[in-house]
Amino acid sequence: MKISQIAGFLGSGKTTLLIEVAKELVGMGKKVAIVVNDVGEINVDFKIVESYGLRAKELSGGCICCEIAGNFANTLALLWTNFKPDIVIVEPSGVAIPWGLKRAAEYSEAEVPVTIEHAPVITLVDSTRIDALLGTVRRLVVTQVREADYCLINKIDASDEGRIKRSEELIRSVNPKCEIMHVSTHQRKGVKEVADIIANRTSDRYDEAMERALLEQEYGSG
């Protein structure tokens, strides 16, 4: 069972992209389930995903990568038992740390006979708000970019050359190894390519030493 996470700050377009990519994957013959996490007790994104007729589960009341990691593992185990999806697309809250989410997903291997593999970690960067985001929530945005395999500069149809360039510069400076794509979900630009990446490529399994190195690179050693 492959786990695909689509990360990004609030309002970066995660839910919209996820719905379109899920529809694309279903069209490719894949069995797709979706898990939507919100740190609050209410989950608007889940209601939106569900309204599209997609098979979705909500996880609320905490962060998927730590305090409700066990719930997440249980949810994956149940999905495997009842639905046997090829791919589970996870929309984490804006708080989750991608490596932590990988670890939480792998906990499900202890509950059911399934092997978890990971699709590349995808992080959305909202190019229309790049300047405002870097001015107020820079560290959150930087952390999500740092742990991505693919960074998608989103909403390019509503942005301009300067903002797109600054988004690219941020990504290159933080995570020079990741691949950068320009995307506009509203124009369906990049949707099929993202579905292909999720279906056909993989990312490393959880590695505690690597997570520690990434965190300390960002925050120092304590």
Binding site: L10, E41, I42, K47, G62, I97, L133, R139, R212
Partner: protein
């Protein structure tokens, strides 16, 4: 070593908790059937007025202000991240469908003010907009207490 790791991890969550949040579930009743266009206007104005009030009272960034309306005839979702661009609203109301009664799930997330202030700004703004559209409403759930504080990250 493990303590250091937990501390670093917590630092990330503390940063996210600088976002102020308010969430509620609201039953809404219009005196007459509203067209999809009128309903789009209602949700757009609701999100705009709430966001405007938060920004006027200390918020310095819109995180995400969103609403999901569920009715017998369909669903409508509205999302606002930029006060100057108003809301993006989508729906699956069929041609001729109207809205008269339903439930709105509202989630307000802004940066720069705390949960209590977000709630204090959201409730009067909500009241103004519903009155403007002649819509009666009942708050079924108020999630303020559960949304508050970083304490849930501390074991």
């Amino acid at each position: 070593m493990e303590d250091d790791h937990d501390e670093i991890h917590l630092a990330m969550h503390r940063e996210a908790d600088e976002l102020g949040k308010f969430a509620s579930l609201i039953e809404v009743r219009a005196p007459r059937p509203l067209s999809p266009q009128e309903t789009v206007g209602l949700l757009d104005e609701l999100l705009y007025q709430i966001t405007r009030a938060c920004l006027d009272h200390g918020a310095d960034l819109v995180g995400h202000v969103k609403a999901f309306l569920k009715t017998e005839d369909g669903a409508m979702s509205a999302s606002l991240i930029d006060i100057d661009k108003r809301s993006n609203v989508t729906h699956d109301f069929s041609h001729g469908a109207t809205f008269q009664r339903g439930e709105i799930t509202l989630h307000v997330i802004v940066h720069g003010i705390w949960d209590d202030e977000v709630r204090a700004q959201s409730l009067p703004a909500m009241d103004r907009v519903f009155k403007q559209f002649g819509v009666d409403y009942t708050i079924l759930k108020d999630f303020t207490d559960k949304e508050r504080s970083i304490s849930h990250h501390l074991k």
